[in-house]
């Protein structure tokens, strides 16, 4: 299993955390998602077919772009 951690500054309430968790959780291959309101970090564990690109794209699509 692979894992990535992103910084997502747009997280600002528990709804954001929930949205990110459910949306990423629906992505094929994603096993585990943790989003933290305090640190604004999103931790994703995944297997194929999910890719970092797909995860980043989805985060951008739901208005939580990744800070590079």
């Amino acid at each position: 299993m692979e894992s990535v951690e992103y910084s997502v500054p747009a997280i600002h309430c528990m709804h954001c955390v929930h949205t990110i968790k459910t949306e990423l959780g629906d992505l094929n291959g994603v096993k585990f998602v943790e989003a933290d309101l305090e640190t604004k970090k999103v931790d994703v564990h995944y297997d194929a077919p999910a890719t970092p690109k797909a995860i980043e794209d989805l985060l951008a699509e739901i208005n939580y772009p990744v800070e590079k």
Binding site: C13, H15, C16, T19, I62, N63, Y64
Partner: protein, 808 residues
């Protein structure tokens, strides 16, 4: 075929700019949603969808899954004229057909219809109109609902009693006169005279059309809406006997008159209904008892002045004084004073609980020994008592799976009985054995009377009452014992479980580590090294550190400020106190610091086998003490687990602890099986494994951390949630933390399930046996009516018997 619908839904919980987009996205994921627009400022979601592909329920689930709520209206209507289970399913269908009405649940025995509705789609008035149009009456309740309800119920019982008395006054002389003819009190000749028969008819008319009027009205309404209920059977049966007797009276056809039959049928069924109405009131007594617990006034301290205020006017943060012998008015936290409070009415725990500063108190509990002041933290509908009442009412309104069977049978029952009755008539008329000459009974009247017997015997009332009355009594009894069962389904399933899975921490044990042993290895006294250890640990946030500090507080050991300290993650803490270097830590810490543990080698292995965690203390690099810490088993856990075994339940302990600690606790409490080293996230999959082995599993846990496992189990029991009843995601909630509550819950469910089964058995068997008996002409209609009345009364009384069962 597509059917485009446009709805507006009131969304709750939108806080941030992304909310609107999130909801829109989620709605659009649903197939057949054509467009979705969410307005953040007025909190409305406008959705256009194709009703052939999706429904309102699915849309609402989408929104809820996205983490938002729908502001649903909640209606609880009291329907006065529900006759039986087929009425219930008819009304249910009508209500469900209304756009915007969700989750309908009707309880026949409490006569309440509860539903949620989307207020932007349908209004309460519109729902009421539909109910009236379907032919049901409602009791309008304004103001204090309980009072209105109690009054109206009393009025109903009074009316029933009046009708019953009138029925008896006319039926008894009627019975004596007509039987008198048959038994030769006076000559058969006189009994055949028209004037004599006219007297009988005169007596029968008020019974038929005044006492029995309600059955005609009920039957008409039921038939008009395309179904048949018990009113139809009673009306048909008694009218057949009555109407046939009229031409006989006037000598238009020869034969026997059956006025006494029609009158007695109506009177006996009235008697049954009257007794039933009286006992039905008793099934909801537990709720009334709970409602009566709330005190009316509270002594509020405002600016040093004590004033008595109605509990309805209490606000959060009010400081309230409670004297000995008074009830705690609302939930809160003790500010000053000390007392013992009897919480048995809510938790079921018989021993009063000591309360002092900082402790939580629950509204409606009884203050025993001392006075105290507390700050109100929950008032009005948020108090524990209010939550309990709401929860029990919801549970009583929910439908148990076992009832579906009864409902399905009832739905086809009445039409089937009518067909059977017609067959009985035809059978007796064409195929019946020849009648002895001069019996005064014609082939036709014999066939007719046997048909009437079939119609009357087959009323499905008892079947409709079998499940809901037992559920009402069961859930009510649970609530007064600190066992809150949220749905009827949970009650039913809990009665069938074979395996109890218990979480360790906080369920079997107290959930807070405590110092169990202090081993002094120093030359000086125990307190000095322990004092230094505790002083250091004051600065660690580790739960073991808290246990050590707590112990110091209990032993009144003063703590000193360390000159320096440093915590080493995973090992312990070091520092300098009173010019001495102090090390407090685990075995690895001591090894790292080259401190020999040789002196305590034997103790280490023994205590570890007992499941204790060891903390070592070294002063100036010499081992001076050892502290053993363990999460202790709650009082009562051992007994409760033993009782579970007596009830033939298998017990399994589930824990994240290592095998050694787990085994030590398991040995103390005597569980059958241990599953240790389970990560919190894997608890639900362990439950699943047990279920795959074909076990009915109940999981007992703390309700918040164990939520997924509680949901996975056949029934989840949340233990000791105290005042956060609504929070717990389990179907069963125990107010107290005592494991004994689990035993009570299972025992109660078993009794209730058994009662339901008995009820259904008797209700069915009575029909199965007596319908053929009636069809073969062996049951006169009057006895049939008596038996039918008896069966309903029997079922209700059998359910009430649950109240007297001991659940421990």
């Amino acid at each position: 075929m597509s059917e485009i619908k446009q709805v507006t839904l009131p969304v709750t919980g939108m806080t941030c700019a992304n909310c609107a987009t999130t909801i829109e996205r989620n709605l659009k994921k649903e197939k057949s949603v054509l467009s979705a627009a969410v307005n953040l400022s007025n909190e409305r979601a406008a959705v256009q969808y194709d009703a052939s592909g999706t429904n309102l329920d699915a849309l609402i689930r989408r929104i809820e899954r996205a983490g938002y709520g729908i502001a649903l209206g909640e209606a609880d209507l009291w329907i006065k004229s529900l006759a039986d289970a087929s009425d219930v399913s008819r009304l249910e269908k009508k209500l469900k057909a209304i756009d915007g009405v969700l989750r309908v649940s009707i309880n026949l025995s409490s006569e309440h219809a509860r539903m949620n509705y989307v207020p932007t789609i349908v209004t309460l008035n519109e729902i009421k109109q539909v109910i009236r149009k379907a032919g049901f009456e409602m009791v309008e309740s304004g103001g204090d609902q309980v009072d209105v309800e109690a009054q109206a119920r009393k009025a109903e019982i009074d009316q029933q009693r009046k009708l019953l008395i009138i029925g008896i006054l006319f039926s008894l002389p009627l019975l004596v006169l007509s039987m008198g003819g048959d038994f030769g009190l006076f000559s058969m000749e006189m009994a055949q005279k028209t004037w004599f028969r006219l007297i009988l008819m005169t007596l029968a008319i008020p019974v038929q059309f005044y006492v029995g009027w309600q059955y005609y009205v009920g039957a008409y309404k039921s038939i008009r809406s395309g179904s048949a209920n018990m009113d139809v059977l009673v009306a048909l049966g008694s009218s057949t006997a009555f109407l046939y007797s009229i031409p006989v009276t006037f000598g238009l056809i020869s034969g026997h008159v059956y006025f006494e039959t029609s009158a007695i049928i109506i009177t006996l069924i009235r008697l049954g209904k009257f007794l039933e109405a009286r006992s039905k009131g008793k099934t909801s007594e537990a709720i009334k008892k709970l409602m009566g617990l709330q005190p009316q006034t509270a002594h509020v301290i405002r600016g040093d002045v004590e004033t008595d205020v109605s509990v309805d006017d209490l606000a959060l943060g009010d400081v309230i004084l409670v004297r000995p012998g008074e009830k705690v008015p609302v939930d809160g936290q003790v500010l000053e004073g000390h007392s013992a409070v009897d919480e048995s009415m809510l938790t079921g725990e018989p021993i009063p609980v000591e309360k002092s500063k900082g402790d939580a108190v629950i509204g409606a509990t009884l203050n025993k020994t001392g006075s105290f002041k507390f700050e109100a933290t929950k008032v009005g509908k948020d108090t524990t008592l209010a939550q309990i009442i709401r929860l029990v009412e919801d549970a009583q309104g929910s439908k148990a799976p076992i009832q579906r069977l009864a409902d399905q049978v009832s739905a086809v029952f009445v039409p089937a009985v009518i067909v059977l009755a017609i067959l009985t008539f035809l059978g007796w008329y064409f195929l019946g054995p020849a009648l002895p000459a001069g019996s005064g009974v014609s082939q036709f009247s014999r066939a007719l009377i046997n048909m009437v017997a079939v119609l009357v015997i087959a009323c499905p009332c008892a079947m409709g009452l079998a499940t809901p009355t037992a559920i009402m009594v069961g859930t009510g009894k649970g609530a007064t014992n600190g066992v809150l069962i949220k749905t009827s389904e949970a009650l039913e399933r809990l009665g069938m479980v074979k395996t109890v899975v218990l979480d360790k921490t906080g369920t079997i044990t107290r959930g807070e580590p405590q110092v169990t042993d202090l081993l002094d290895l120093s030359e000086s006294n125990e307190t000095s090294w322990f004092e230094m250890a505790a002083s250091l640990e004051k600065f660690s946030e580790h739960p073991l550190g808290e246990a050590i500090v707590h112990e110091a507080v209990v032993r009144s050991i003063p703590l000193t400020e360390p000159k320096s300290f440093q915590s080493e993650t995973g090992l312990g803490i070091t520092g300098e106190i009173n010019g001495k270097s102090v090390i407090v830590g685990n075995q690895r810490m001591m090894e790292a610091k080259n401190i020999s543990l040789l002196k305590v080698d034997k103790n280490i292995s023994r205590m570890q086998q007992e499941g204790k965690t060891l903390v070592f203390v070294a002063v100036d690099n010499v081992l001076t003490g050892m502290i053993a810490i363990a999460d202790q088993v709650k009082d009562g856990s051992v007994d409760a687990i033993k009782e579970m075994h007596d009830m033939d339940l298998e017990t399994v302990m589930l824990t994240g602890d290592n095998q050694q600690t787990a085994k030590a606790v398991a040995g103390q409490v005597g569980v059958d099986r241990v599953i240790s080293e389970v990560l919190p996230a894997d608890k639900s999959s362990e439950i699943k494994k047990l279920q795959e082995n074909g076990l009915n599993v109940v999981m007992v846990g703390d309700g918040i951390n164990d939520a997924p496992a509680l949901t996975q189990a056949d029934v989840g029991i949340a233990i000791g949630t105290g005042t956060d009843i609504a929070m717990a995601s389990a179907q069963v909630v125990l107010v107290s933390g005592d494991l004994h509550g689990v035993v009570k819950a299972i025992r109660l469910s078993r009794y209730t399930l058994r009662t339901i089964k008995q009820n259904l058995f008797w209700a069915f068997i009575y029909n199965v046996i007596l319908i053929p008996v009636a069809a073969f002409g062996l049951l006169i209609p009057m006895l049939a009516a008596g038996a039918m009345a008896f069966s309903s009364v029997f079922v209700v009384s059998n359910s009430l018997r649950l109240n007297r069962k001991k659940i421990g």
